[in-house]
């Protein structure tokens, strides 16, 4: 079993669900799936003009991993432009805030509201859980 992916911290999710090409009758119905972390990588590197190292720290991943996310993002956008494909944004491995927990048994993510006193997985009831932030 591969090591599970660290969740990438995303400050704000994209403000859109996707982009669609127009003026092209032969456009394929298939869409390119841009993950939230890839959108965040493009935003940090090319919109906020941050250095990769600073951007990687902000997202809670190493610089090489940031570079891979960024590269994947650029390639997906290029593919969408050249092949006139729709872009859809997907949640991916993003982490939006601190309230999520991760179950070590079944890999489900869940929240624990104030009314729940037991610290156990919401799916399999395993007590082997970590805060998503702590496990990074």
């Amino acid at each position: 079993m591969p090591r599970h992916r660290k969740l990438r911290k995303v400050v704000a999710p994209p403000n859109f669900k996707g982009y669609r090409p127009y003026g092209n009758q032969t456009a394929k119905a298939e869409a390119v799936e841009l993950l939230y972390e890839e959108y965040e990588a493009i935003k940090l590197a090319d919109y906020d003009l941050m250095h990769h190292l600073d951007a990687s720290k902000l997202m809670g991943v190493s610089r090489p991993t940031f570079a891979r996310i960024y590269e994947s993002a650029r390639r997906k956008i290029a593919r969408a432009l050249v092949e006139a494909k729709e872009i859809k944004t997907m949640y991916g491995n993003a982490l939006m805030d601190k309230s999520w927990f991760l179950c070590n048994e079944c890999n489900a993510r869940f929240t624990i509201p104030k009314t729940v006193t037991k610290r156990a997985c919401a799916i399999c009831r395993s007590t082997s859980i970590n805060s998503v932030v702590d496990s990074q």
Binding site: F110, P113, I123, C124
Partner: protein, 104 residues
Amino acid sequence: MKTIITSTGNSKSDRFDLRFGRAAYFCLYDDETGHVSFHDNKHLAASHGAGPKAAEFAYELGAEKVISGDFGPKAKDVLDKLNIQMAIIENDDQTVGDIIGIIK
């Protein structure tokens, strides 16, 4: 405790729906009585606000836990305020019946 599982159809053999606000059906499961019921998503075709409306619907049904594949930021805010627990399962190859089997 009542749990809502998002579903693509209205039977236990239908697949789990990864979307919350735009899930086709909500399956309400009561682990005390074992009762399972399916409810249409009335806001499926809404142009906006499907997530928060689904969250309010979950509250009206008396659910304390919601299992889906993803929660939008607005739906998450509402569910947080209503103290409803959210759980995310990322693979959609399970049926609603499978998930009920796990949480039983």
